[in-house]
Symmetry: C2
Subunit: 212 residues, 2 copies
């Protein structure tokens, strides 16, 4: 079936073309600039051709959302060498903040916008990429508990808390809710990192053993 195979490959090539074009619009001109017509223009096909490769616009969003998770995992390559689980977790949080601030559009798609999730629940799927990411956090949290850095408890519960915290910071920041709070844009990420430090200090129980 060499022919069917080549066909398949070509189909995927155009799919990729569409995604590349969407990405380009996404990154260079922001979210609202992704229109079927502009995508078509970029890939030099007619608008309706896009629908031969994606059922609707939301399906494109979902694909981009997936790409976002790939990009985020690149940010986490620096975790492998860190032995101390609490420091690893801290670094993980910093990476998360940095990713969100550097790629706010991706972040929106991954963690804020409704469209990708709607598409996903249509397909009966279960947000594999998101759960995988959360799974890595859970491992680290478990490790922290075993080694006595965090109070023993439900690692899921604690993972949810940690995730919520950093997500809260990023999503408030990229949706302009901290502008009055942190007027100087350059101070945004540092302020968020400081908040993370405070948080990590508070949940670390090793400190409590030291006398005041």
């Amino acid at each position: 079936m060499g022919i069917a195979e080549r066909k398949e490959k070509q189909k995927n090539e155009i799919r990729q073309l569409i995604l590349d074009a969407s990405m380009k619009l996404f990154v260079e001109e922001g979210f609202d600039s992704i229109t079927i017509r502009r995508i078509a223009e970029l890939i030099e096909y007619s608008p309706t051709t896009v629908y031969l490769y994606f059922k609707d616009k939301d399906e494109i969003f979902y694909a981009l959302h997936d790409l976002g998770f790939e990009k985020m995992s690149e940010f986490n390559h620096n975790l492998d060498t860190i032995q101390n689980p609490l420091i690893r977790m801290h670094k993980m949080g910093e990476n998360y903040l940095r990713f969100g601030m550097e790629y706010p559009e991706f972040y929106s798609l991954m963690f804020i916008m409704g469209e990708p999730m709607k598409k996903m629940s249509e397909l009966g799927c279960d947000w594999k990429v998101g759960d995988a990411a959360l799974g890595r956090l859970k491992e680290t949290v478990t490790d922290c508990m075993e080694k006595g850095y965090l109070a023993k408890g439900d690692p899921y519960q604690v993972s949810l808390a940690v995730w919520s915290f950093v997500h809260g910071l990023v999503s408030l920041a990229i949706r302009q809710r901290l502008e009055k709070f942190v007027p100087d844009e350059k101070m945004l990420l540092p302020t968020m990192e400081q908040a993370l430090n405070w948080f990590m200090n508070n949940i670390d129980i090793t400190e409590r053993k030291r006398p005041a």
Copy 2:
């Protein structure tokens, strides 16, 4: 100037009519159902009449966003009688979670969507409602520090952290990012409250003074 006054009043009446219609659509059919044409239909005017009272759609969103803050402050009436600042802060957090889960559309407008903020920065305004709400949190945080419940430090910094935490919970929940994590929808709010408990326990330094 009795006449000009009545005129003014009538103008405001129609403005109010428009906002009421928007609210109705908002609450009963969700965000995307707010269209100028449907608003016009409800108030029995032509679509373009709406533009005599609001410059554009975003200005309506901004007004609704303001109403959301009013509604949220209703949720906080139960705080007045609480003496202990840490418990007050805890309750404040619970109220925040409950408000977000009960009025997700309002919450989106207030803390997630870009439109109201865009309109605001056009007007050179400074998110008074948001800052006021954060101000009340800051007071409580300061109170907690003075009374020895929280480690002394920058109250703004800590307020940001607390706010980010609860915002993270709510925004993940209402944007369907916790569905796999908490499959049973009824467990959503309880799980979030549990996370808040964990958080409050961790930042409360009075506990540290007790021996393990």
